[in-house]
């Protein structure tokens, strides 16, 4: 209990130490919106250069002809007062014409909305256009906001206000509806990581604070591969189909702590025995503390002590090295072909969960911006034969001598990777779960808008994969 109290106290003590004193308003931001963002309020007033008292801008009210029920002026943010110092401001009126009366009032408002007028001033035709320098001693303590209001009736004279200086400590919370800063015993910071319990996804763990999912917290993404690279295939894009979801967890400094990659191998529509890996293009191998859960059944991939593939500059994460070794054969007629023939037995997708722990020290820290997923297929147990998404770089282990052979038109110099001379791909990545194609059914036969999407350079039907009327031909899709 004492610990919780101490943490809560420290949290608010830190905030209080940082808080600015005095609080000022000179309107030189030129737009009331800028000051409203830190909880000043401007009922009936704008920042205006007309009749400015000092600098370029002052706060200028409306015509003040509405009477006492519609006063115009400025309201300060919530502030904490300690009975010392003063409140200073400058004010005047514009031209006195047809005025019945004009008054100014300085009112303090408590959080329970009770008010107390602490200063009044009556303008007259003789003093209206002179600058009045307000200066009163603060003789109260506690949390209040101050209203600097003009009221009046008759005529169109406006009030001008500027150079407000209040000896008190700023005590508003702009991201909490500008309410007063207030410690909430229910929302302490049990783990002391600086993130209050009610905002901390892991309030008892000082190493974790938030989590985020890719592609999204609901649903999975879908990877679909052809595996005959560098030769073109039949574009059923089902030689390997996997769904993925990656959960990232961060600490209170927004530094990545770990990732859980959940990959579901859904289909193998190929005679080859293929593997699946991810390269994190911006994260070096030595930024990884550990990788566990990779399904390694052969010897084509060698893991370093921290679990990434050895000999790679960037972190390469093995999901599985042979899909056929982890997923039972579901086709009685063809070996190594599973879940692509509608009349063959359905095999429940095989889920692989790979856990990655990132180093979090300053020299190795990984941020969300550093994430660039580069999934790729290892074809037929040949480590050098990598098949990536179009435009994605090969890993250090890729056999570059294959580039440019057969149908491949990879040119490292122009950063064209894994596309044919007609710029066709060997793999695609969909941001949601979609049904894949049955065996030897080209993707265009299942997704009616796919070709228009490609031919229009993505300008038309960028939602081609959604289940909209006329978008899918379910007869060619593998749907369970």
């Amino acid at each position: 209990m004492k610990k919780i109290f101490t943490l809560v106290f420290l949290s608010f003590a830190t905030q209080a130490i940082f808080a600015q004193r005095p609080v000022t308003l000179d309107c030189e931001s030129g737009n009331r919106n800028n000051d409203a963002a830190v909880c000043w309020e401007f009922p009936g007033t704008i920042h205006s250069s007309i009749s400015a008292i000092s600098g370029k801008y002052s706060s200028r009210t409306g015509p003040l002809s509405d009477g006492i029920y519609f006063p115009d002026g400025v309201k300060s943010p919530w502030m904490k007062f300690d009975g010392t110092g003063s409140i200073k401001w400058k004010m005047k009126l514009e031209k006195w014409t047809d005025v019945k009366y004009r008054e100014f009032a300085l009112i303090k408002v408590a959080p329970d909305d009770t008010t107390d007028t602490i200063f009044r001033y009556d303008f007259t035709s003789a003093n209206a256009e002179n600058i009045y320098n307000g200066n009163i001693k603060i003789n109260f303590s506690g949390i209040y906001k101050l209203k600097f209001f003009f009221i009046g009736e008759g005529g169109t004279t406006r009030g001008i206000l500027d150079d407000i200086i209040i000896d008190g400590t700023y005590w508003s919370s702009p991201s909490n509806s500008c309410n007063p800063i207030a410690p909430d015993p229910q929302n302490g910071d049990d783990d002391g990581d600086g993130v209050p319990n009610n905002k901390d996804a892991y309030p008892k763990d000082p190493t974790l604070a938030f989590e985020c999912y890719y592609p999204a917290n609901i649903g999975n993404g879908t990877l679909m591969f052809e595996d005959l690279w560098p030769k073109k295939g039949d574009y059923d894009l089902n030689d390997l189909v996997a769904e993925y979801k990656i959960r990232f967890r961060y600490n209170s400094k927004n530094i990545l702590v770990d990732a859980e990659m959940e990959i579901a191998l859904k289909a193998l529509g190929a005679g080859n025995s293929n593997g699946l890996m991810y390269q994190f293009d911006k994260i070096k191998s030595d930024q990884i503390e550990s990788v566990t859960g990779s399904k390694i059944t052969g010897n084509i991939v060698t893991l370093a002590p921290n679990g990434v593939e050895s000999g790679q500059k960037y972190a390469n994460i093995l999901i599985f090295d042979n899909g056929n070794a982890i997923m039972p054969n579901g086709d009685n007629a063809r070996s190594n072909v599973t879940n692509v023939e509608p009349n063959s037995p359905y095999i429940i997708p095989q889920k692989v969960i790979v856990d990655i722990v990132f180093k979090t020290d300053a020299a190795h820290a990984v941020h969300y911006t550093d994430l660039n997923f580069n999934p790729y297929l290892i074809a037929n147990q040949k480590r050098g034969v990598e098949i990536h998404l179009p435009g994605f770089v090969p890993s250090d282990k890729a056999d570059k001598s294959i580039f440019g052979t057969y149908d491949d038109d990879t040119h490292v110099s122009t950063k064209k990777y894994y596309q044919t001379r007609d710029n066709l791909p060997w793999a695609i990545d969909i941001n949601t779960e979609i049904p894949y194609l049955q065996e030897q059914k080209e993707i265009t036969t299942g997704y009616s808008k796919f070709l228009q999407w490609a031919l229009s350079n993505g300008k038309q039907f960028n939602d081609w994969y959604l289940n909209k009327p006329g978008y899918r031909n379910n007869g060619n899709l593998y749907i369970r």
């Binding site: 905030q15 009331r32 963002a37 991201s175 909490n176 938030f210 609901i218 695609i428 990545d429 960028n462």
Partner: protein, 136 residues
């Protein structure tokens, strides 16, 4: 001589326009879209359903420490694209991927919540809003 040079230039431009880029464009445009195997797509087409966006936030001068959860979500809050604990006073620039079909996102920082358009793969968020009139 000058006229000769100008004519040569015009003829060259005409040849380039006939046999240069236009050839590729028309080849792509006039295709019969029946099979992926029979088409040629633009070299600039990226085949991805994602877009990499840059999330830009300009911090504002603060009068007290103000940290809160900043999140970028779909408009219905069902998909969270980014979340983290940030100070309102810091400039933020984060890159991440969202589906290409998303053209608006919701950005939330505590009680501040705005719908923001995705423009040219940028999400620009400001804490500054139209000031409410406030209660008298």
């Amino acid at each position: 001589m000058l006229i000769l040079k100008r004519n040569f230039l015009l003829v060259s431009l005409a040849i380039i326009s006939l046999f240069g880029c236009k050839k590729n464009d028309s080849a792509i445009k006039d295709q019969d879209p029946t099979s992926l195997n029979k088409i040629k797509v633009s070299s600039s087409f990226d085949w991805t359903t994602y877009q990499k966006v840059k999330f830009n936030v300009k911090g504002i001068p603060l009068l007290a420490a103000e940290k809160n959860i900043l999140s970028v979500t779909s408009l219905d809050d069902k998909e969270v694209f980014l979340t983290g604990y940030y100070s309102m006073g810091e400039n933020i620039s984060e890159e991440f991927k969202i589906p290409k079909i998303v053209d608006q996102v919701k950005v939330t920082f505590g009680s501040i919540s705005k719908t923001v358009l995705v423009v040219d793969q940028n999400i620009d968020f400001s804490y500054i809003s139209d000031a409410p009139q406030g209660n008298n």
